[in-house]
Homo-oligomer: 334 residues x 2
DNA sequence: CTGAAAGCGCTAACAC
DNA sequence: GTGTTAGCGCTTTCAG
């Protein structure tokens, strides 16, 4: 075990004071070229590493960002987290990643822990409302959640417009539009549902009995889902077009339609949401609304960096990232 | 912005010394029930949070574990990371997750950063050899990498036996066995290849021309892969059984076989490795060797905890986690 | 250009 | 049962 060497020992080796060493390390203040060389070579020889705990304590800044994510195992979220982590790393920050499991309680606990670790900022990816973050006075940026507070930084995909576009496409290609969603309080879901109904309204289509809400809140796309089966069976339209709240539900819907012997995409069309990996892996490949995860992540990081650079700026900003429709094999060409 | 309150202020409020407050907080040493109450209520009122940076500096312990992972976006890795994070959290540790992108350079950088952050331990998930961790004197446990050092803690699936079992199954169900692998130096790959050839040897099957090594190192399972196409076309056996080095390659193989009009699983059988989500999503669902991610993660965490509890113990341990064959629809029943 | 010294928030002897 | 104090490794005035 190598001994951990401190700035003090570097100072001794070089015959200078710790202050001088510190100056050299941070290239801050003045020092002669000669001392610089001495210090630098001593650092190299000893393998000295600055102790970020001490620096953090002193500067009241940890250089760590906390990332709260519902489920790292979900393709959409992991893509966002990965990009955030990369972008933060480029800015000199490390990331503590926390799985909230969509639990408000876990979220609260993690917020507490992060705050104790003196993280400089937090990125919360979540669609569920919660107000635990009110106890914490650390810069936060929200991805996809729009909290009910005065001053906030929110990055979100254009869920409303994405749903509108998907539904319009279904209608335009000759299908009678339906929506399958899940039981949740997520604001993103609400926006998508709103987009669906607005599209219907624009086309003056009767809106009754067009929505199925799955009771399973599980992610498990392989759930035996009899709800979807019954729902689809009961639709009398010849050409059925289903907009699903996400790609996992699209996958369930696809499997159900296949089981019912539906002809896809001629008589049965599906458009999912998220453009998660599953939509490309399924057979046939599922058309979906693409969320630009890279831009979501980069914008979130960028805004957080701006906030950190100027913490007193209230910065009440909401940034909407456009979505776009990816046509695959569960839709007809336009 | 609430002011950050320190132990000193709690002490003032309660009219006691900081030492006493510290004792109460850590339930360590003696204090009267009365002071305990006073301190506790002051903490509650003020919303005091212990500063882990200061604690860490003092105790030389950060309560953070670093996790190095090749790609958080990969279903297998994200499952392991998630479980590690949960298990560590239960033990009072936070996790800094770092994507190495399979780059030795990035790995080295992250190792440096983690070490500066004074992490108490590191979990490295990686199959590629590298020796940057030699510069760091922090307890490390390796998942799937078996470094060439004296004293180490290694957790690994039984890649050899998994491959052996898969190949045997292919042979037993009447297929002529082949293997498709990727170009990599990963030890896990080597073990799997070894398992494949040993199974062949056991059955006295001629081993020439049974392996295709894909040159694409990319994860992108949708790569147009002409190599696989040519390879499969050139096989003259009536019943072809392919063991693939992982599920992404199994997916490519499946798509290729489908394109060639092969009858699956009657004339063409596939077994992948990892049991990643993709194997369940594909149509038909792909049989695969299941790696027990939960146990991998839990064992790794547990051994790391043991090491941290007793750092001077050299603990040269290698723990092999059994795999098992999951039969789905790319294999014949036995 | 450099050094001395204070102090970030906390814990752990040591004293009483 | 409680207070005093030193010090973890570092940055940052303030002197000189």
């Amino acid at each position: 075990m190598k001994e951990q060497v401190s700035i003090k020992q570097i100072a001794e080796i070089c015959g200078v004071s710790v202050a001088t060493v510190s100056r050299v390390i941070n290239d801050n203040g003045r020092f002669s070229e000669e001392t610089r060389q001495k210090v630098l070579s001593a650092i190299k020889q000893t393998g000295y590493k600055p102790n970020k705990l001490a620096i953090g304590l002193r500067k009241n800044k940890s250089n760590i960002i906390g990332i709260l994510v519902p489920d790292i195992t979900n393709g959409f979220y992991s893509a966002v987290v990965k990009k955030c982590e990369q972008a933060l790393s480029k800015n000199g920050y490390s990331s503590i990643v926390c799985n909230t499991d969509r639990s408000a309680e876990k979220e609260a606990n993690y917020l507490q822990t992060l705050s104790e670790h003196m993280v400089d900022g937090i990125i919360i990816i979540s669609t569920n409302p919660s107000d635990h973050y009110l106890n914490v006075n650390i810069p936060i940026v929200f991805i996809d959640r729009n909290p009910d507070i005065e001053s906030k930084i929110v990055i979100t995909s254009d869920h409303y417009y994405g749903a509108l576009e998907a539904t319009n496409y279904l209608i335009k290609t000759g299908f009678s539009p339906y929506i399958i969603t899940t039981k949740t309080k997520a604001i993103t879901t609400k926006e998508r549902v709103r987009g669906f109904y607005d599209a219907i309204k624009q086309h003056k289509i009767d809106s009754t009995d067009r929505m199925l809400t799955l009771h399973s809140t599980s992610n498990e796309f392989l759930d035996k889902n009899t709800e979807a089966l019954t729902f689809i069976k009961n639709i009398s339209d010849k050409k059925i077009g289903i907009f699903t709240i996400n790609d996992n539900v699209a996958y369930i819907t696809l499997q159900t339609a296949l089981k019912l012997g539906k002809k896809i995409p001629d008589d049965f069309s599906i458009i999912g949401f998220d453009d998660a990996p599953i939509s490309k892996i399924a057979t046939p490949q599922i058309s979906s609304i693409h969320q630009n995860t890279d831009e979501l992540a980069e914008k979130a990081t960028q805004l957080l960096m701006e906030k950190l650079a100027d913490p007193d700026n209230p910065m009440n900003v909401t940034k909407t990232i456009p979505t776009n429709l990816i046509l695959r094999n569960t839709t007809l060409p336009s």
